[in-house]
Amino acid sequence: MYKIGVMGDYDSIYGFAALGLETFPVKDPEEAKKILDTLVVSGYGIVYITEEWASILHREIEKHGSNITPAIIQIPGISGNTGAGITGVKKSVEQAVGSDILFGENN
C-alpha cells in the first residue's frame, strides 16, 4: 500500500492534511532535499510539491523521473500559479515530438 505526500511551505499545504494526505512542511532547501529523498524510498506513490519548491529541488526531481513511483507532481502554492506545471507538460511534448506542436500557440 502506498501513501500520498504533499511537500511545500506550510501555508500552501496544511489543508491537505484534512483529506488524509501526509503533509511535509519545508523551510530549508537542504532539509527539503532530505525529506524528498526519504519519501522516494519509503513507499510514497505520489508526492505533490508546490511549484516554488519544485523549482528549488528540480535536480532531485529529475533524478527520480524515470521511476514509476513516486510520481512527483507540481501544484500551485499559496503565492499563486507560476506556470511551472504547464511548462512541465509542454516540456514532455517537446521531448517526445522534438518541438512543442500542441500548446505552442498558448505562449
Binding site: 491537505f16 514509476i68 507532481i73 500551485p76 506545471g85 507538460v89 514532455s92 511534448v93 515530438v97
Partner: protein, 236 residues
C-alpha cells in the same frame, strides 16, 4: 564509409546481408512502435493539459478559501482543527503496459467511506469558511489523482518515445546505409575477382588450343631442331 574495414569475402557478404535484413525489420518494428506511442502520447498529453488547468484552478481557489478561513479565525484554532485528521488515504499502484512502457495506475482507498470525514474538527470553534475550504480541496482530490497518473504516464512515454526515435534514426541513417554500402563494395570486389580469374582461364585455354591445333607442324619443327643439333654435335 566504413567499407575500409570489411574484408571482401563471401562469408562477410552473408553476414552483412543478414545484418541488413535484421536492421530493416527492426527499423520497421521500431517505427511502428514510435508511431503508436506518439498517437497515444498525443491523446494523453491533451488530457493531461486539460486536467492540469482544471486542477490548478481548483487548488488556487481552494487556497483562496483557506486564506479566507484563516482570516476568520486565529491560527492556533486552525492548527488544532487540522492537527489530527480523521481520514486516511491509501493508494494502490498497479502497472499498465502501453507499448512496452510501464505506466502507473493509481487507485485510492480511504480509511472511512463517509465523505464527511474530511472534517476533522468539531464545528463549534471553527468558521464555516474552513468547511468550505476543506470541501473545495476534497472535491479536487480525485482530479489530482488522475492528473498524477496521466502526468507520470506522459513523462515516462515521452522519454520512451525519445529513445525509440533515436533508435529509428540511427537505423535509418547509419546502420542500414552502412550495410548497403558494404554489401555493394563486397559484391563489386567479388565480381572483379571473378572476371579476372575468367580472363586468366580464357588466356590459358587459348594457349593450350594453339598448342593442340598446330601440334604436327610444331612437332616437326622440334624434330628438325633436334636433328640439326645432333648433326652439329657429331659433325664437329
Amino acid at each position: 564509409m566504413a567499407s575500409t574495414t570489411v574484408t571482401p569475402t563471401r562469408m562477410e557478404l552473408t553476414k552483412q546481408k543478414k545484418k541488413l535484413a535484421t536492421a530493416v525489420k527492426g527499423h520497421k518494428l521500431l517505427k511502428d512502435k514510435r508511431d503508436e506511442l506518439m498517437r497515444q502520447f498525443l491523446d494523453l498529453v491533451r488530457e493531461n493539459m486539460e486536467l492540469r488547468i482544471k486542477v490548478e484552478a481548483g487548488i488556487t481557489s481552494a487556497n483562496t478559501n483557506f486564506v479566507i478561513a484563516k482570516a476568520g479565525m486565529d491560527g492556533a484554532t486552525l492548527n488544532t482543527a487540522l492537527m489530527s485528521p480523521k481520514q486516511e488515504v491509501h493508494l494502490s499502484v498497479s502497472n499498465k503496459n502501453v507499448m512496452s512502457v510501464d505506466i502507473p495506475v493509481f487507485d485510492i482507498t480511504t480509511k472511512t467511506a463517509d465523505a464527511n470525514d474530511i472534517y476533522s474538527y468539531g464545528f463549534a470553534f471553527t468558521s464555516s469558511d474552513l468547511d468550505a475550504a476543506v470541501k473545495s480541496l476534497a472535491d479536487i482530490l480525485p482530479d489530482m489523482l488522475e492528473l498524477a497518473e496521466k502526468e507520470k504516464a506522459c513523462q515516462l512515454m515521452a522519454s520512451e518515445i525519445e529513445k525509440t526515435r533515436r533508435r529509428v534514426n540511427a537505423l535509418e541513417h547509419v546502420i542500414i546505409p552502412e550495410a548497403q554500402v558494404n554489401i555493394k563494395y563486397i559484391k563489386m570486389k567479388l565480381d572483379e575477382n571473378e572476371r579476372s580469374s575468367q580472363i586468366r582461364l580464357m588466356k590459358v585455354k587459348d594457349m593450350m588450343l594453339e598448342e593442340a591445333h598446330n601440334f604436327a607442324e610444331k612437332d616437326a619443327a622440334r624434330a628438325a631442331e633436334k636433328v640439326a643439333k645432333e648433326r652439329e654435335m657429331y659433325g664437329a
